[in-house]
């Protein structure tokens, strides 16, 4: 095993341009995330936050028209989505997908198997996996019943988000991208999800947190806050930037950009 050194970049996004159906969404994004760090990305609706997270995870319908992304020094954009996952990238979806008929247990076992095999680790027995799943399920206080059901099928909005965090805990990523995991959560669920993130958080991984609300940042303290407006990062700062945004909205930043 290689020893990860704090402050070595796990992710370098360099002048990234992304289009969908000939419409440019990301217009030159630059972002460096070091191991052990938590970055929050905020910004108005439609500014490209989900696009950024999804492009990093390898969603196929986007076209990268320029720029580069290095993940642990590798050319991320040339990797298949499943390879990115196996190399430690995890995306918690803004809208988790329902998989009718696919049982959560079977799905997650296949997922953990694939990732462990890729790392050269032995495949877990049913019993070992059950134990692991139980542990992670308890982190997000999810009912046993839910892992017996089809993935996300008929889950409430909050249950889907908790399921994402449970999966994250299970897959133990190096770089977790959380796309509005806090949206639509009640106060208890927000606490549970945040605590889940904090339990997984270590000096061997990093987080990019897309959010609209500074309240989640009360639980998960970010090292940096970035503001994405109209496809580029217009402002970066520390934790206090989120408070300032909450106060003033995005208009003042737009004005500044215009100037």
């Amino acid at each position: 095993m290689t020893q990860e050194i704090k402050n070595s970049p796990v992710l370098e996004v360099i002048d990234l341009h992304v289009s969908i159906e000939d419409k440019e969404i990301l217009k030159g994004v630059n972002l460096t995330v070091n191991i052990g760090e938590v970055h929050a990305i905020m910004g108005p609706n439609g500014s490209g936050k989900s696009t950024l997270a999804n492009v990093l995870a390898g969603r196929p319908e986007y076209t990268v028209t320029g720029g580069q992304v290095l993940y642990k020094g590798m050319d991320l954009l040339s990797m298949l989505p499943e390879l990115r996952a196996r190399e430690g990238i995890f995306l918690a979806f803004q809208y988790p997908v329902e998989l009718p008929g696919v049982r959560t247990w079977q799905f997650l076992k296949a997922s953990v198997d694939a990732i462990r095999q890729h790392r050269g680790e032995k495949v877990l027995s049913v019993r070992e996996f059950d134990k692991l799943l139980d542990e992670k399920r308890e982190i997000v206080e999810m009912d046993t019943d839910l892992v017996k059901r089809s993935v996300n099928e008929g889950f409430s909005g909050g249950e889907k988000k908790r399921n994402e965090i449970m999966q994250m805990a299970l897959l133990d990523p190096t770089l977790a991208l959380l796309d509005e995991t806090d949206s639509g959560l009640d106060i208890d669920a927000l606490r549970i999800v945040s605590e889940g993130v904090n339990k997984v958080r270590s000096d061997k991984n990093a987080f990019v947190l897309v959010t609209h609300y500074q309240r989640i940042l009360n639980y998960i303290t970010p090292d940096y806050v970035h503001v994405l407006v109209d496809g580029s990062i217009v402002r970066s700062g520390g934790r206090e930037l989120a408070l300032e945004l909450e106060d003033k909205g995005y208009e003042w930043l737009r004005d500044q950009v215009a100037v």
Partner: protein
Amino acid sequence: MTQTLTKYQQYETDYKSFDDSIGSGQPEWLRSMRLSAWSRFQELGFPTARRGNEPWKYTNVGPIADASLALATKPAQVTLDQIKATAPWDDSWLNMVFVDGHYVSEYSGSASGNVTVTSLAQAIANGDELVEQHLGQAPQFEEADGFVSLNTAFVRDGAVLHIKQGVTADKPVHLLFVSSGADEATVSHPRVLLVCEANSKATLIESFVGLDENVYFTNAITEISMASGAELQHYRLMQESEKSFHVGSARVQQESDSVYRSKVFERKVGLGRFDLYTNMDGEGSSCDLKGLYYTSGSQHVDNYININHQKPHSTSRLYYKGILDGKSRAVFGGTVYVQPGAIKTDSRQEDKNLVLSPDAEVDSKPALFIYADDVVCGHGATAGNIDQDTVFYMRSRGLDLEAASRQLIYGFADEIIEAVEDDGLRQYLEKLFLESLPSYKFEF
């Protein structure tokens, strides 16, 4: 196009010798019923896919008419081990085994407990009045097609089940129709009568299983009569030879508050057709019809369902799923009638198909005919592929395209299989369907 009579030469010869030998020993009422069915068959012939003949629009039975099929006059020699290697089997069921349409008592369990089961041949010989009361009495026999007439013309063996009032059957009854696929291409016409008295509860499993990859024809009819408050769980499996023909129907008469639940599994057949009629002729009756077909190679499977809501407050649910591979073809026709006066009818029908090969084809035509007000009905058919978002979600968890596809296809089929309450049967079906699913990659 009308079929020429010469095509039915073999049936004619067989009918004469059958009527002379076996038929002459049957009671008079049965002989005359058979005789009129035979004349009806001579009139009708096999159905043709001509215009206006909706039930047979997408299925050409020409190959059945063209095949030279001799009446199976006796069961071929097969061992119970051979049967158990292919068919579902559980010692906790009451198994009744039929080979080439003939009851084989050595392989069958004896009726014990609270369910009365007799072979049809035996019941006829015994002069069992249940047979006279119920044979040919199921709904929509008047409009029936040539296959139904042919079965009746050759009525000889099958099963008679009687669940008495208030009785909960202590074990599932398994009627296992084995076709030996012996050298000569044969036809069998099994006939089943199931009489469920008021407030009884039972489980019926019917399996049609081929032992050899040969040409043969199974022409089966099951008539079910459900008195008020009766409950039935009916499983039906088609696991015939790849070269076989199978035309079957179940005709269910439902009185008030009866509950009919059916689960149909169709895996292997050359040309297969199953008609399911439920005549909901009592207030508060309900039916729940589920089905799963998986076709590959050059198979053709047609399911035709007809639900007739006649009285108020009845509920029907229809949910079929199909997986199509190779050059196979599937047809789904679901017709729900809501008759005048059948207010507060609640009906849903859905047929979903997963088409895995560009050469496979599905015709899904659910239809609704509503002649009453104040009803809730919905129907839908979907054919197509899994969407890209779904597959991306799975890949983002480390599964490659092949593994993701496998889980999705498996999940698609499993939704119906997991609804099977009998453990032994469910395990058999899991093996039969899930372990044989194709390795496939959804591509985008």
